[in-house]
């Protein structure tokens, strides 16, 4: 125990590590805020020049970037309705209406505070319950991941805009587009029409930048000349009462985030969307109706995606399985530094585990300071006239898209998606479900087919599995509950209507 504490204190006693964490958080916030420049990309870029450093310094920088980057993605979602990363899509649903009301400062302040709280929940789970959660997450079968993806698809009801059928149409188009490219299990080409650029599929990040960024810019140009709302920046830090008011929701959503983050292959994006949906279903008296700037709709996704950070480290450090894309990069770095992530890592090099816990804790404190300091300059962005900010946003979208795989073709896709998104918006088809379909389509397809193959292509054994396996049964019942809870009968019974 005493030795663990010593390991934990290493970064606190090293000014170099301390500085690198703060630099990482700062860089992460700003990189994460740019659509397309994801935290994954920032981590992979930075890791390439930490190969010659010692491992401690590299880990310090990466932990800082991870925490800052996940937070940064929410800033542009709130200010400009353009999420910096998929994990921030849900935040923008309530954040942007708040910015339109002149409450961007308060929204970002609350987002920062609850984010820091959730980071600590994730870190606590990592340090206390890592082996238990990791072993449990390994029990998930392809059928369970399929059910999880179905739960995700049901979110269309929450983010689908006013018309659910149009939301489902957009979601199904997203799923169809996600099928483009080479089928990962059989190598068969689907919807590629002999075009080599389509073989790799359509990147959902490219689609997201187009559907949110460019289409938002085009929509704004319909109202060119309209003044941007003046932002109230008098009270940024939420009061203690406000924090306590949102504490139960923060705890619930953070724990959901930890759990989803710990599942290999899922991450902050799925966690944030599920948490938003969960908040929408369970909060009886939101600060405002959901969709018009409810603060609960910021708290839930933000705490979930920050909780998912600690969660993602759990399977990585205990089993050597990455919880998400960033931890996959970190595993690569550990290998390069001569370590073998897996069950023996915690036994042979316990100092690494406690140092990561420590780096994440320092990064969370740095996030509180740097996040709150950045609120005013960030909030001022929204007051810049649209005629000036929107051309710059388009150029940023171009940089972000090109950086994904250094391909000009991706820029064409992004602009194409922007134009499609603009037309869809005009007719009330929300673009969120389309991105959701693009994200969850491969997860649905791959896991359904694996589960079906496991049942030897027989319908009955496939369906039986939903009721005989405890995890599958729990997820099936959760899906039934999600559907029932959308009915007006249930909502009236619970007093939500």
């Amino acid at each position: 125990m005493e030795q663990n504490l010593q390991y934990f204190l290493i970064p606190f006693l090293s000014w170099e590590m301390m500085m690198l964490i703060w630099v990482g958080v700062f860089a992460g916030i700003w990189v994460g805020a740019i659509p397309g420049l994801s935290v994954t990309m920032a981590a992979s870029l930075l890791i390439s020049f930490t190969f010659s450093w010692d491992l401690n310094s590299a880990l310090a920088l990466i932990c800082g970037v991870f925490v800052g980057g996940v937070y940064g993605g929410s800033i542009t979602a709130i200010l400009l309705n353009i999420p910096g990363a998929p994990a921030a899509i849900a935040t923008g649903i309530e954040g942007y209406p708040l910015a339109q009301r002149g409450e961007a400062g308060k929204a970002i302040g609350l987002c920062t505070t609850v984010s820091v709280f959730a980071s600590f929940v994730g870190i606590l789970a990592l340090s206390v319950a890592a082996p238990v959660i990791a072993n449990f997450s390994l029990k998930f079968s392809p059928r369970d991941f399929f059910l999880l993806a179905v739960m995700g698809i049901l979110l269309i009801g929450s983010i689908g805009g006013g018309d659910p059928i149009k939301g489902i149409t957009a979601g199904a188009i997203g799923v169809l587009l996600s099928m483009v490219g080479m089928d990962p299990s059989t190598g068969e080409l689907r919807y590629t029409f002999g075009n080599i650029y389509l073989m790799a599929g359509i990147s959902f990040v490219t689609a997201m930048i187009g559907l949110f960024g460019v289409s938002e810019a085009l929509t704004q140009f319909r109202n060119a000349g309209k003044k941007s709302p003046k932002q109230n920046l008098d009270r940024i830090i939420p009061s203690w009462t406000t924090f306590l008011k949102y504490l139960p929701l923060s705890i619930r959503s953070s724990l959901l985030g930890v759990f989803i983050g710990a599942l290999p292959g899922t991450g902050g994006d799925v966690a944030a969307l599920l948490a938003y949906d969960q908040a929408k279903r369970t909060v009886r008296h939101p600060s405002r109706p959901f969709g018009t700037g409810a603060y609960e709709g910021i708290v839930a996704p933000e705490t979930a995606n920050k909780g998912a950070i600690g969660g993602a480290f759990i399977p990585m450090l205990t089993l050597g399985i990455p919880g998400d894309a960033v931890t996959a990069i970190i595993i690569g770095a550990l290998y390069i530094h001569g370590l073998k992530p897996g069950p023996m890592l915690m036994i042979e090099t316990p100092h690494l585990f406690w140092m990561i816990v420590s780096c994440l804790s320092i990064a969370s404190v740095a996030l509180m300071v740097l996040g709150l300091v950045s609120v005013k300059p960030f909030a001022k962005i929204i007051e810049i006239p649209k005629e000036i900010i929107m051309p710059v946003v388009i150029i940023l979208s171009v940089i972000g898209t090109y950086a994904i795989q250094n391909s000009v073709v991706d820029i064409f896709y992004m602009i194409g998606f922007g134009i499609i998104g603009y037309f869809l918006r005009l007719y009330g088809y929300a673009t969120g479900p389309m991105v959701l379909g693009l994200i969850l389509g491969p997860m649905l397809d791959a896991n359904y087919r694996r589960a079906m193959q496991g049942a030897e292509n027989q319908i009955l054994p496939f369906l039986e599995g939903f009721l005989t396996n405890p995890i599958s049964l729990f997820l099936t019942l959760s899906i039934v509950f999600l559907i029932v809870s959308q009915t007006s009968f249930y909502r009236r019974w619970r007093g939500l209507e």
Partner: protein, 175 residues
Amino acid sequence: MVKNMGLQAEGAGGEPSGTVKELSKYVPEARRKPGELGIAAITFLLGALGYYFALDMTSGEYSSPSVFPKLASIVIMACSAFNFIKAVWREKPEASLTLTGYLLPMDVVVVLVLLVAYCFILPRLHFVASSYAFMVIGMVYLQRGKNIVRALIISAVSLAVLVAVFRYLFLVILP
């Protein structure tokens, strides 16, 4: 955000600025928008094509690669048919609203033309020159020809910052 899209779209049709409409309950509009039938028909066609091309994929088993493409296509066709019928039931669009006027106001047309031109010149002039031209022309047009010097300076400074940060600090390769 997503719900607000409806607001954004409707805002162009006369929504007062600066207000946030109550969107928690969906209230269908009495009149359909110009081109609403067309968009439902296009999405139906997309679903039909999706299904048609999925017929070429391996099928025959419940775990075949064609299962989800076919399923998604059927959902698109069914929903599009529903959207089409629902739009038919609603009153015709206001006579004063034309399809092109609704879809493509002049500002949007100009920005779209600029975007397409930007795509064409980007591989030839590369990032700095083409982006500078895009920003300056965009800003000058959207400010109705005023503040040309300001647009030149803002574009130059923004571009310098973008290049410095992304190219030299974060080592991102620019187009």
